[in-house]
């Protein structure tokens, strides 16, 4: 049970406080309700580029990092297709430093030309490091384009192409900031060795006078139901053939999300999972195989991704995957196998909750989803899943018409 209290400032900033007096530290987490899905299709990669610029100094404070480090703190941030999250941890006695820094960059940035110029280069190098200079690095670019025709999940957070980042202007940056980086579109979580009263007073003092901004109303085009299987063949300079299959799944708030999460564990979670045991160990068709999803807020993808043992044909490999999926569609799984993945989920949650930073982060995420108390009843939602649910879910998701397959061939 994770205890928390919440209140809302007059400007619309939602504040969550989680007291934990077993640590001398405090965590301040600011989550903005904006991700790559909110970008202009002609200016992708912007939410993430922007995250970098948030460290280039704010309107009253030339450097974010230095004062925080001087106060014994450290910080980081990340951008996903759904949201952008900034978090720092520091000795609780210095917590006001974090309020000062975070509130000033919510108020306004410095918008320096030099900062933009440098971060464009840094992000280009990040793009190269993670997506270009790596075997199979372009898989997700290709898979997203194949699986999404309309919804903005069709591009990666780093951007659809390098040129979008290279052409970003200071004007674009400013517009983006004033549209999304406002109290009414943000969530503040303070956790650790703090009290609710103290956080109320500090939040009012530092965030209270920031203009609320306009609530961003998200109107994203939903991805139309996919009815016909899609395939793409790729030949690239990689040593081993690989196959990637993705199916559309459900939004994060749909109860079927929990069923699908357990389904992915049954297929690909760990060394006793079905795909690993059958296809790597028994049939020896794959050198490794995984099944996963990204837990996106809008309907995302469930993916099976495997590298073929040399000499195995793509057809045989794919047929073997299909055979495993077929088993889930025609026969109901044993209660014990379902219990196994539920138990794994329970301990995963317990391990994640050990870290103060993770707790703060989860509180922000569930608040963004609309219900902070979800943090305490996720396990129940998993436990409600039945063997019949798994079967029904498998039938729906693994419909051939819902599949997107990338055949990635080794070439020279």
């Amino acid at each position: 049970m994770i205890h928390f209290e919440q209140f809302v400032l007059q400007n619309g900033l939602k504040v969550i406080v989680h007291e934990d007096h077993s640590t001398p530290m405090a965590v301040v987490d600011v989550m903005y309700d904006v991700g790559a899905r909110d970008e202009d299709p002609e200016k992708t990669g912007f939410a993430h580029l922007f995250e970098h610029l948030m460290f280039g100094g704010s309107v009253n404070i030339p450097s974010y990092d230095e004062p925080l480090q001087a106060a014994g703190g450290e910080n980081n941030a990340y951008t996903t297709n759904d949201l952008t999250n900034y978090y720092c941890q520091l000795p609780a006695e210095n917590i006001e430093t974090a309020f000062w820094l975070e509130s000033d960059r919510m108020l306004s940035l410095a918008f320096g030309e030099k900062s933009l110029e440098v971060q464009r280069k840094v992000v280009s190098e990040e793009f190269k490091e993670h997506y270009l200079n790596k075997p199979y690095g372009d898989v997700w670019h290709k898979m997203r384009t194949l699986a999404f025709k309309v919804h903005p999940y069709k591009w990666m957070t780093i951007g659809a192409e390098l040129s979008h980042i290279e052409h970003a202007t200071l004007h674009d940056v400013q517009q983006f900031f004033f549209k999304h980086y406002t109290p009414v579109n943000a969530i503040l979580v303070v956790a650790g060795h703090v009290t609710v009263e103290q956080v109320k007073q500090l939040a009012e003092k530092w965030f209270g006078d920031i203009p609320s901004g306009e609530k961003y109303i998200r109107t994203l085009p939903p991805e139309p139901l996919q009815r016909t299987a899609r395939q793409l063949e790729v030949h690239a300079k990689v040593p081993i053939d690989a196959i990637y299959k993705s199916w559309h799944i459900y939004p994060r708030l749909d109860q079927r999300y929990y069923i699908t999460d357990l389904l992915s564990e049954i297929l690909g979670g760990g060394a006793s999972s079905r795909l690993f045991q059958s296809l790597v160990k028994e049939k020896q068709l794959f050198s490794n195989i995984e099944c996963y999803h990204f837990g996106t807020i809008d309907a995302g993808l469930l993916t099976i991704d495997g590298k073929l043992v040399k000499g195995v044909s793509m057809q045989d490999a794919e047929a073997a995957i299909e055979a495993e999926l077929e088993k889930l569609k025609v026969s109901t799984i044993e209660e014990k196998e379902l219990q196994k993945v539920k138990n794994k989920t329970e301990s995963l949650i317990a391990f994640e909750d050990m870290s103060l930073m993770n707790r703060a982060n989860s509180l922000a995420f569930y608040t963004l989803l609309g219900d902070t108390s979800m943090i305490n009843n996720e396990l129940q939602r998993y436990n409600n899943v039945t063997p019949a649910d798994i079967k029904e879910d498998a039938v729906t998701i693994f419909d051939p018409g819902n599949s997107n397959t990338l055949y990635y061939y080794a070439g020279n």
Binding site: I61, G73, P135, Q284, V309
Partner: protein, 426 residues
Amino acid sequence: MVNRKIAPVIKDAIDYTLELKPCQKFLLDNNIPVYTIDAGAEDVIQVELVFHAGSWYETGNLLAAMTNHLLKNGTTAHSAFAINEHFEYYGAYLNRNCYSETATINLHSLTRHLKELLPMIREIITTATFPQEELDIYRQNMKQRLEVNLKKCDFVANRLIDEYLYGFDHPYGRYSSAEAYDALHRDQLAGFFRDHYVNGQCLIFVAGRLPVDIAELLNKNFGDLPLNQSAIAEIEHAIVPAVNHKYRIANDSKAVQGAIRIASDFPNRHHPDFTGAQVLNTIFGGYFGSRLMSNIREDKGYTYGIHSYLQNHVQRSAWMISTEAGAEVCEATITEVYREMERLRNEPVSEEELLLVKNYLIGTLLGDLDGPFHIIGRWKSMILNELGDDYFDESVATIKSITPGDIQSLANKYLQPEKFYELVVV
């Protein structure tokens, strides 16, 4: 209205008293030492068995790592699948890791399931069978994985720089190859297992919310095994560093980035300069605000990240600078690295920058002591490196008291370009 130009008053992190929660120690009937930290809010536990079974003791390349990895791939009573299913059914994770000196078996689970899991660990460390088929599958899959990894410039660079520092025949400088995977036989694994696990030397580290009968549970499962019956074998490996100091390797004709590694040999944690060097390293390239990051990422945009660190083994360390930079700016990046070394040698660091780094280090140390797993990790490092119980306190005292003069003289002693190996893999 609050004046946002004025920073709130801070308490310097160096004014904090840092205390490492003491760990408890007891011996099992067969003298296996057990170290415990009982803390935390969640019902979780970690039990780590550390064996002196690292690559230091192997008689064939990869023997230690392969033996360690295949421990849970079959026992006289259970198949690999049955073993995995047992741990996973209880939501537990059993990880294996092989290092240069030690190899570990590490269990994470909910505390209430511990008694169901320890007997299977006992079974593994006494009756693992290393089935031929498991070995063949593992070998084939590792060779394929290696083939993919060898396409990555950073992977290749990490291997080569260690070889330059220590020589390929030293455990710190050796790396895998398809031939090495092919050369190992089942009998060698079984022999290494017999000598270094069944009849080996073991220490146990336990942390989390401990059951009241933890000592009894451990004794029942491990206290009667023929472990720790003899002294650890004294084996010497000669370090044979490379003669040439500069390397440019072409790995991928289409690479858009190069992997840069610049490294020099450095003494181990027992050396009196060690903690001071860590403070110097933090200033140089050890945190986001470091000289290397500020110059090469935040001013020039040559890279997504550049870091320096002390890569620690028990016997030796290495001072390592590591980055992936745009292919066309690799040489410019190296020039800037040496320029930052030169600045640290020639100009004393300001009191302000040094205080910031001290606060940062103490603050992160304070944060790192969050939770039982981190605390036992500190103890484990001190115990396995035989650093003594006061090491943590002494390190904290050094961080708090080090001066700009100390930093400059350390820079002059260690940050000399001619001591470093330099490698770019493109």
